[in-house]
């Protein structure tokens, strides 16, 4: 019964997605940075180790076929100390008993092989270095320590570099996502407007694919194929109902002709029967017409002349028309307050809506019922109220009666297609309005609301926000 505003909010929800994507990007970049850093670090370390091995081999080089002895190594160290004042390498020779034989570095003997050491460099600051300890055949221990400025500064750079990489990656990730979401939304905009048009009943629309590429083009093509199929189904169904119309109307025409001839030519005693049969034939046709009409309005196939429609003169006209009809059935029709309201509507359909509702009063209420028709303007638009003081409807019937072929318990004896209220409801829905049935205690109150077209109501606001 209630029209739900299409598309409450259509702004692309990029916010959370962008942050998530940016975070993921930042974490990925952080990992890449750390892998890069450790690769550089291990490369520098391997270069240091190679250099240590090379210098150890150089010091322990055999002289005249004999292995280097303590004295020769100590002499080399002393010689080196004389030549080099500043170097990243330091040499120390320990005796068998662990006493330092040569070299100036203040460290104790180390286990043979590579190890990391801390030592007092320049007598003030502790420095870190890499050491290679090698046992001489004499039992002495040659230790070469290399202090790498490059490795140290690399370690010092680590936190800053990682932080900078992460921040840049976060910003880039978020902006890339925003950009991507924007591009996606732009590409989907045409798809969206096409889908809206189709929802409004225009099955001839297709998503333009000339400006799309990649997955968007694939998706648009597949949606277009779906719409093709839908249109084909609707066409088939329409053809089916036209064929049904033709196939049923033709025998009904023959039947009506035969009955008419029977009434004229036949036995005078039977002419009453022929006339009743002809009337039944007419009511079959009436139900059939009403059903086709309902289907037309509901599927948006009714050729409507939507335009600005001033409701007041239309309601006065309908009241003039229905006043004698209701009076002939023993009731009265009063016209209450009539405000000036304009809607966007089809006058033929609005006429049918009001006639159907008033015919309901005329047909389904007892003699003496008074009905009142009024038109008010409220913040949302036009409110047309038809209120009678008849027996009304049971609470359960209030919902049921707007469905096709349903009637209130009291009215079931009365004639009619049973489609009047269903058609009324379809017409109101077609005009983006709503129809409510309420107990007027006593009687029934039917309230039709249709948005006005001269000022934006809440529905128009929702539409504008969606656009």
């Amino acid at each position: 019964m209630r029209l739900i505003p299409r598309a409450l909010s259509r702004s692309p929800r990029v916010g959370r997605l962008a942050i998530q994507f940016g975070m993921a990007f930042a974490i990925a970049m952080l990992a890449v940075g750390m892998i890069g850093f450790s690769a550089a670090d291990s490369w520098v370390s391997s270069r240091i180790d190679a250099s240590l091995r090379y210098h150890t081999a150089k010091y322990l080089q055999p002289v005249d076929g004999h292995g280097a002895d303590d004295a020769a190594v100590a002499a080399k160290i002393l010689d080196w100390q004389r030549r080099k004042v500043l170097s990243e390498r330091t040499y120390v020779l320990f005796g068998r008993d662990g006493t330092r034989i040569a070299g100036r570095l203040d460290i104790g003997p180390l286990p043979p092989g590579f190890s990391d050491v801390r030592f007092l460099g320049g007598g003030r600051n502790y420095q870190e270095g890499r050491a290679l300890a090698t046992r001489l055949p004499s039992g002495s221990l040659l230790v070469i320590v290399q202090h790498s400025e490059a490795a140290a500064s690399l370690h010092a750079l680590l936190p800053g570099v990682v932080l900078a990489i992460s921040l840049v990656a976060l910003v880039m990730g978020v902006s890339a996502t925003f950009l991507f979401a924007r591009l996606t939304a732009n590409r989907l905009a045409e798809t969206q407007s096409t889908a809206d048009a189709i929802a409004a009943g225009d099955l001839s629309r297709r998503i333009p694919t000339d400006r799309l590429d990649g997955m968007f083009a694939v998706q648009a093509d597949s949606l277009n194929r779906m719409i093709d199929r839908m249109e084909e189904l609707v066409r088939t169904q329409r053809l089916f109902s036209s064929n049904l119309a033709h196939d049923l109307r033709t025998p009904l025409t023959r039947l009506r002709g035969m009955l008419a001839r029977g009434a004229v030519d036949g036995d005078p005693a039977l002419s009453g029967t022929f006339e009743r049969a002809e009337r039944e034939c007419a009511s079959i046709i009436a139900i059939f017409d009403a059903l086709l009409r309902l289907a037309e309005i509901e599927t948006g196939r009714h050729p409507s002349a939507m335009g600005t429609l001033s409701l007041r003169p239309l309601i006065e006209d309908v009241a003039d028309t229905m006043d004698p009809v209701i009076a002939d059935r023993g009731g009265t029709l009063e016209v209450g307050r009539l405000d000036d309201v304009a809607i966007t509507g089809d006058s033929d359909l609005i006429n049918q809506l009001l006639i159907n509702l008033l015919e309901n009063v005329a047909t389904h209420t007892p003699v003496g019922t008074r009905a009142r028709l009024s038109l008010e303007r409220d913040a949302d638009g036009a409110v047309i109220t038809i209120r009678d003081d008849g027996p009304g409807l049971a609470a359960a019937d209030l919902v049921r009666v707007t469905r096709p072929f349903e009637r209130g318990a009291i009215a079931s004896a009365a004639r009619g297609s049973g489609l009047g209220l269903a058609i009324a409801q379809a017409i109101v829905r077609f005009h983006h309005g709503r129809i409510d049935l309420a107990d007027a205690a006593p009687g029934l109150e039917v309230r039709v609301r249709i948005p006005a077209n001269d000022s934006p109501g809440p529905l128009a606001d929702a539409g504008a926000a969606a656009a």
Binding site: R249, T250, G257, A260, D289, P303, V325, R329, N351
Partner: protein
């Protein structure tokens, strides 16, 4: 009057021919579109009853063909396609009236007479006077001799339409179409109830020229209010 009936269903065709015969009209029958075009070339007709779905060519194409040859013969399209859209299509292609099947014989005869005489119809703007009964468009009042009565919008339009079609049968559905402009069929007696109010007002004036044709419609007799 002489009418051409274009209908492929033999039962319905016979019903139309017999019915129009009872109303005193001559008829020629064509069973296909091409036959109809041939017959319209051969001799003039006052009006054509044209079925929309024919075995060879579509009724719409027949009208199109006839109109392009400069033949302005009034055409009533008879069709099993009865939606508003079908009706608009028929009228747009050049039919003068459109009647959905199944139809009432009196309805068909009345509508045929109306379109056949359309070229001699009184224009809308002319003075509305029949005998001494007069209708004033500015005040919506009916006058007869010295008496006058106020009519509401519907009563005024009803009387005006009948006066423009004096001495011709006007059916209920014709009135619903031209006075109310409704494309749907009301389930109550809208025409009868409003007509009865109009006739009460005219009787109070002293002259009611409207005659009810039982089951068919109404005729306003020009000789009643002399």
């Amino acid at each position: 009057m002489r009418f051409l009936i274009v209908e492929d269903d033999p039962v319905i065709a016979e019903h139309i021919v017999a019915g129009l015969g009872l109303h005193g009209h001559e008829t020629t029958l064509a069973q296909t579109g091409s036959e109809a075009i041939l017959m319209l070339d051969r001799r003039p007709h006052d009006a054509v009853v044209l079925d929309r779905l024919l075995p060879d060519i579509n009724g719409l194409s027949v009208i199109d063909h006839v109109r392009r040859q400069g033949n302005a013969v009034p055409v009533l399209m008879l069709s099993a396609l009865g939606s508003v859209k079908d009706r608009i299509e028929g009228l747009e292609v050049g039919a003068d009236d459109y009647l959905a099947k199944p139809f009432d014989m009196d309805e068909l005869a009345a509508r045929l007479s109306a379109i056949a005489r359309r070229n001699v119809s009184r224009p809308e703007g002319s003075r509305l006077q029949v005998g001494r009964l007069e209708l004033d468009p500015s005040s919506h009042r009916a006058r007869y001799r010295d008496a006058s009565a106020a009519l509401n919008r519907k009563q005024y339009s009803l009387l005006a339409h009948l006066m423009r079609n004096t001495d011709r049968l006007v059916t209920r559905s014709m009135l619903l179409e031209s006075v109310w402009a409704y494309s749907f069929s009301p389930t109550t007696n809208i025409v009868e109830s409003n007509m009865s109010r109009l006739r009460t007002a005219l009787l109070a004036l002293g002259c009611d020229p409207i005659e009810t044709q039982r089951g068919a419609g109404y005729i306003l007799r020009s000789d009643r209010c002399a």
